[in-house]
């Protein structure tokens, strides 16, 4: 599904990614771990198409299509979803209106009609119920005044609505207490299927107790220096990152 091949990326002429290779198949959960500054968030932003980063070498393919020339929204239309570490507050736009716009833009890009209001509402309610989201929450301004847990839950709600092929969860555990973490992880697990894939980016192992990865990769200084099964995460938790240098 996703093939990252020898990816090099710069920001402000500083090289952050120095040759990342990664392949994710449908139905798999991958985790990328690594110390601060190793390039984890850069990798997720580059896959999602953030314009500030310049890809200098290598490629990213989704289902054999090269993403290089595609804008972030076009990548989203093809099934990439990035859950943000710090979701942006947008006062004045409700959660419902935001997700309606996102879904209909995506449908428009695929040459489909807008989803009828009735069907949209039904879908919103189903997904909200699935993730145990209070409906009142849906008429609040997007992320405005949301707690850390609410913001992350809102990200997973949007993921549920957009039904991506590949969901990238960037530091989804940061700022969450253990209860909020469980709720969010539970949501992700409910959305998991044989046809989609999840890439979890995290500093700590604890999220991986709840979203169990098939593969764990260690990113260090812009390269994947070690890959393994879920037991690698426990080893990292016990030994830290220093032994990998």
């Amino acid at each position: 599904m996703l093939k990252v091949n020898n990816l090099h990326a710069n920001i402000d002429e500083k090289e952050i990614l120095k040759g990342v290779n990664l392949e994710i198949k449908p139905g798999e959960v991958h985790a990328i771990m690594g110390p601060n500054g190793s390039g984890k968030s850069t990798l997720s932003s580059v896959i999602a198409g953030k314009e500030e980063y310049e890809v200098t070498e290598g490629s990213i393919h989704l289902d054999d299509e090269d993403l290089d020339d595609l804008a972030p929204e076009e990548r989203a239309h093809r099934g990439i979803f990035l859950s943000f570490q710090y979701p942006v507050e947008i006062p004045g736009v409700t959660v419902t209106n935001f997700i309606k716009t996102a879904i209909n833009e995506s449908r428009k890009a695929k040459g489909l009609e807008e989803l009828p209001a009735k069907d949209m509402l039904k879908m919103i309610r189903e997904k909200a119920d699935l993730l145990e989201i209070d409906r009142k929450f849906l008429s609040r301004s997007l992320n405005e005044g949301f707690s850390g847990g609410e913001k992350k839950r809102n990200e997973i709600f949007q993921m549920a609505m957009l039904e991506p092929k590949l969901a990238i969860l960037d530091e989804t555990d940061s700022g969450l207490d253990i209860d909020a973490l469980k709720v969010v992880a539970n949501g992700v697990n409910k959305l998991k299927s044989e046809d989609n894939a999840v890439l979890v980016i995290t500093h700590y192992q604890r999220l991986l107790d709840y979203i169990v990865p098939d593969y764990v990769h260690v990113l260090y200084d812009g390269k994947i220096v070690k890959s393994g099964g879920k037991e690698l995460a426990l080893e990292l938790e016990a030994k830290g990152y220093d032994w990998l240098k």
Binding site: S45, A48, G49, K50, E51, E52, A71, P72, E73, R75, A76, H77, I80, F81, L82, F84, P87, V88, I90, P91, G92, V93, N97, F98, I99, K100, T101, A102, I103, N104, E105, S106, A109, E114, S141, Q158, L162
Partner: protein
Amino acid sequence: MELKEKLVSSFLAFENKGGLDLDSSIHGIRTKAIQNFEQAGFPTKKDEEWKYTSLRNLLKQDFSVFPSKEDKGVGFKDIKKYLINDIESFTLVFVDGVFSSFLSDTTHEELDICVMSSALSRPKYKMIIDNYFNTIASESNSLSELNTAFTTEGAYINVPKNTVVSKPIQILSFTTGKESELLIQPRNLVIVGENSHVQIIERHQNLSSNPSLTNSVTEIFVQKRAIVDFYKIQNDSEKASLIDNTFVSQKQNSIASVHTYSFGGKLTRNNLEFYHEGEHITSHLNGISILNDKQHVDNHTLVNHKFPNCESHELYRGIFSDKSTGVFNGKVIVQKEAQKTNAFQQNNNIILDDGAAINAKPQLEIFADDVKCSHGCTIGQLDESALFYMQSRGIPKKEAKALLLFAFGNDVVEKIKIPQLKSRITKLIAKNLGVELGFDL
């Protein structure tokens, strides 16, 4: 001949042929006003209050000072789209400065919603005119003085005490371009009695592509415990310029709000001044400016806190693209006696293009020591991380930008208390930002 000379020399002719049977006190006020104007002249960039707004090019045009009184052939179909027509309302329509009774819906039942020309000339209004007319319009403002000197027509609204006006009042002033370059000077007087409530929507509209200049003065008197909501829609053509001078005087426990939506026009200058004449007064000043091309808007505001326990809330937002320019100058004075004042001012601006600019100047002059005052002024670009966030959810950049700009203006739009007006303003904003939104905010 320069416009100033033309105006001054027209004054005598105007006084003689005015056609209004005015008592001598009005003559006196006018004569003094023209003298003040003659002495001060039009403001120039040397004047601190006009540092960033130049009238020079505008005043080079050969404006007609007296529009012809002939019927301009403007019918309801021509003006319909400028009305908020999905609500019941009283309407006062002026065409080239002349009242059109045919297009208007006035009343004298329980309250007066009619025109200045009758208020100035009929004996039964004399006492009110003597008590209110030109009592708060600033003598140091030469443009306001110019308006006073030539006052002929405008809205006269007098709401007696304990009256909630059942429907909003719309004041519409059109220029037709029949005179190729026309100066009009509407003069409005609004008096809202004790415990009364009124909502007013005002709009200036040039119906042609000929240049027009409107120099308008509005005096609003808000008596004890009265509530006034005044909405100004400034979405005029690229050839229309507007100088709006609005003065609000409030008595104790009253609430007055003036909302200014500047979406178009060649040059727009708003002088908005609030004067407090009692305790426990609340004043709201809200504005959104969304400009493009080479449009210019200048919002000069003043809130003069003179009594204790009053509050003022000021929120102006601006979005400037292309080569448009803006000025925000918000002055708040808290006098020595005005203890326990709460005065808040916010001015936030987004600059979308390199050629656009905003000059923002908050001015707080605080002479009392037990007050809460704050001001905040920001000038920035669109938040790139927010754009990326929205794009990553599949919303294309153009729509994402529009949504963000909408959200930016939303705090101000939220304060509109007439739903139909709110939806109209929302649509105007969408149009100005060049997008179709699939929903109402």
